[in-house]
Symmetry: C2
Subunit: 219 residues, 2 copies
């Protein structure tokens, strides 16, 4: 076969298949040859659509980042904005745990990521935070999200896992353990996010007092 009558490949098909394979078989086993095979094609054909494998992975990362919701900032409430942003960001990653390293190790050149970062930064500044504070807040919330997505329960505090294993020793109930793990991951994230936002409220109040004092001193 040379050039087919109707194209076998296109960028979104390749990208979606790559994500599906990562979801199903893990990131490590994704190779250009395997990806091509799943698409009924030879490996070299992929290079007509993406210049390198990294570009395919970038497309996957962009796809996940697209689904993050930054609309919560629109009403000027930074607490709500931050919370919905963080939750949707984490949810997008948690839906594809095998793909998280792709997003986490991401270079800065990804469009969707920059769009998201810009929306968050703008939202925080619009709600009254100083630009430098906005950068740091967005950073620390992002840290929480990336960390939560990177190292889920299973790789975490295994002594706790052991407790559950003792209680559910037979493999037929392994799905129950998984449910527990997901719940604990979720709760840890929510505890962290809630505490962080509460702590930021105190910082915000402090900043407001600082500004007032500086304003009075200027008179």
């Amino acid at each position: 076969m040379a050039r087919p009558r109707t194209p076998l490949l296109n960028r979104t098909l390749i990208r979606d298949t790559a994500l599906a394979m990562i979801d199903e078989h893990g990131l490590a086993t994704l190779s250009m040859r395997r990806l091509a095979q799943a698409l009924g094609v030879q490996a070299a054909s992929l290079y007509s659509h993406y210049p390198t494998k990294d570009h395919v992975l970038d497309a996957v990362a962009n796809l996940l980042t697209e689904q993050v919701d930054t609309s919560g900032f629109e009403r000027g409430d930074w607490r709500a904005g931050l919370t919905t942003w963080a939750r949707s960001y984490r949810a997008a990653l948690a839906a594809h745990p095998n793909a998280v390293p792709v997003v986490a190790s991401g270079a800065g050149r990804r469009e969707q990521f920059l769009a998201m970062a810009d929306a968050v930064h703008g939202g925080l500044v619009g709600a009254g935070w100083a630009p430098r504070d906005a950068t740091m807040i967005a950073g620390s919330v992002k840290y929480l999200v990336i960390g939560a997505a990177s190292t889920p329960f299973a790789s975490g505090f295994a002594d706790d896992v052991q407790v559950y294993l003792d209680r559910y020793p037979n493999l037929t109930q392994a799905h129950r353990l998984r449910e527990h793990a997901e719940r604990i991951d979720q709760d840890s994230f929510e505890l962290g996010l809630g505490s962080l936002v509460r702590g930021l409220e105190e910082v915000y109040a402090m900043r407001v007092r600082q500004v007032r004092r500086a304003g009075r001193r200027a008179h």
Copy 2:
């Protein structure tokens, strides 16, 4: 050369060299052949000391995790314990940014990691937190650390980077940009950690009230 008079290799030498190469040239370029070459040896010889490349990387991860300080919990002050733990954890990772993915993607079977997790969990429970709260707190703080180490400034909010690039366009001053980036990373982490701990203090007070109420009701 067959067996040499005095051994050329040992486990710690291989592990330390691997870390040095990761630090200097990045994780992606570390191969068994290159590692062997740096040690003046053939690749297959490494397999007398480590069964696979992953085991070498595990040793590197353990080495970094060894340096984390959990002694802050010893006086029963969970705030101090949490803070020193988080700071030393982040510092250990920040000292070897290229090695962070090795630690972040770590399977649960690493001894040093389990020892650290156990110390933190024990410290929190010893300071009065319920076991489930302790798990979640340790989790959320770990999230912050891993996230902060995984995605440093450069890969982050590039619009801010652009501001700095406009101000320092010539490459001779690139180290200044790096200084700024490190400072902002540091400050973001500290803001997140401080806010998180402050928020946890409120949770702690709430838990104390809950316990008191439950105790009164039992009378």
